[in-house]
Amino acid sequence: MDPFEQLAEIEVPPVPAARTFTAGVRRKLHPRLLALHLIEFAFGATGWALVHMASALAAAVRYTVTGSWPERRKTGEKRR
């Protein structure tokens, strides 16, 4: 008999119970999902914060370099 054919004759044990198996999958899946969501949130939040604080950061850099703080202008007021 072909030795490879004997591999098919080895019985596979019964599959683990659905409840414990599914619980095991969820135990592995949920921490990874949480980590993924946290990473996505961190990246998203960093991008949002950078976009919204970009003008303030630019002004702070300009103040550091030039020593003059940009004047706040009222709406409609023209630059002198």
Partner: protein
């Protein structure tokens, strides 16, 4: 589309074909009803693959759970080039190979004194009959093969997949699989003439 008759009826999804269920699972944001139904439908098939490849109840269960975790993250990648079942078998095989490789790396790092040893079906089978001794021998021989070659033989002969399915699972062609199995057979016959010495029918 093919409807799996062994399906369970989770939230009325039992009547959906595998591919429809997969598409629905891909749209779900979390492990919802469609993903649970897929898991229920394929638990046994994935378990069989993992048990064959991992060699031990505990490792097989761990690997099967890992397969479904990986399936969750890759659930949107099914492109419909093969049946869903074949694609999922491919995911299961890749996961088992990855786990076996990382396990052997860990064992090499820990050295022979490491407390964890790779369990094989050969180790877990009690000797006593010629058939069991022969399967013990063949498993010992397979352990000496490259991981992917070993998986190929186990899927071809243990699970009786045809070459087209094997080609999809291993990302190659049917001809390449046939050639590879023929080379493995030659290699093993050179190693163990006692097992392969007799004329064998050329199924592979």
């Amino acid at each position: 589309m093919r409807v799996n008759p062994e399906t369970s009826d989770i939230a009325g999804l039992g009547g959906l074909a595998d591919e429809q269920l997969a598409a629905q699972a891909a749209r779900e944001g979390s492990d919802g009803a469609a993903f649970t139904a897929l898991m229920d439908r394929y638990r046994e098939k994935v378990w069989r693959v993992c048990w064959r490849l991992m060699g031990g109840q505990h490792d097989a269960e761990d690997a099967a759970q890992e397969v479904f975790v990986r399936l969750f993250f890759e659930r949107g990648k099914f492109a419909g080039r093969s049946t869903y079942s074949t694609w999922l078998h491919g995911v299961a095989i890749r996961t088992c190979l990855m786990l076996r490789r990382s396990r052997s790396r860990r064992q090499r790092r820990e050295g022979p004194g490491g407390d964890e040893q790779i369990a094989t079906h050969a180790d877990t089978q009690a000797s006593g009959s010629n058939a069991v001794d022969a399967s013990h021998d063949i498993h010992k021989l397979l352990e000496g093969l490259d991981e992917e070659d070993r998986a190929l033989v186990l899927m071809r002969f243990g699970e009786s997949h045809d070459y087209e399915q094997l080609a999809e699972m291993f990302g190659t062609t049917a001809g390449a699989c046939r050639m590879r199995i023929s080379r493995i057979r030659e290699k093993l016959s050179a190693k163990a003439g006692r097992l392969f010495g007799e004329p064998v029918d050329k199924k592979g």
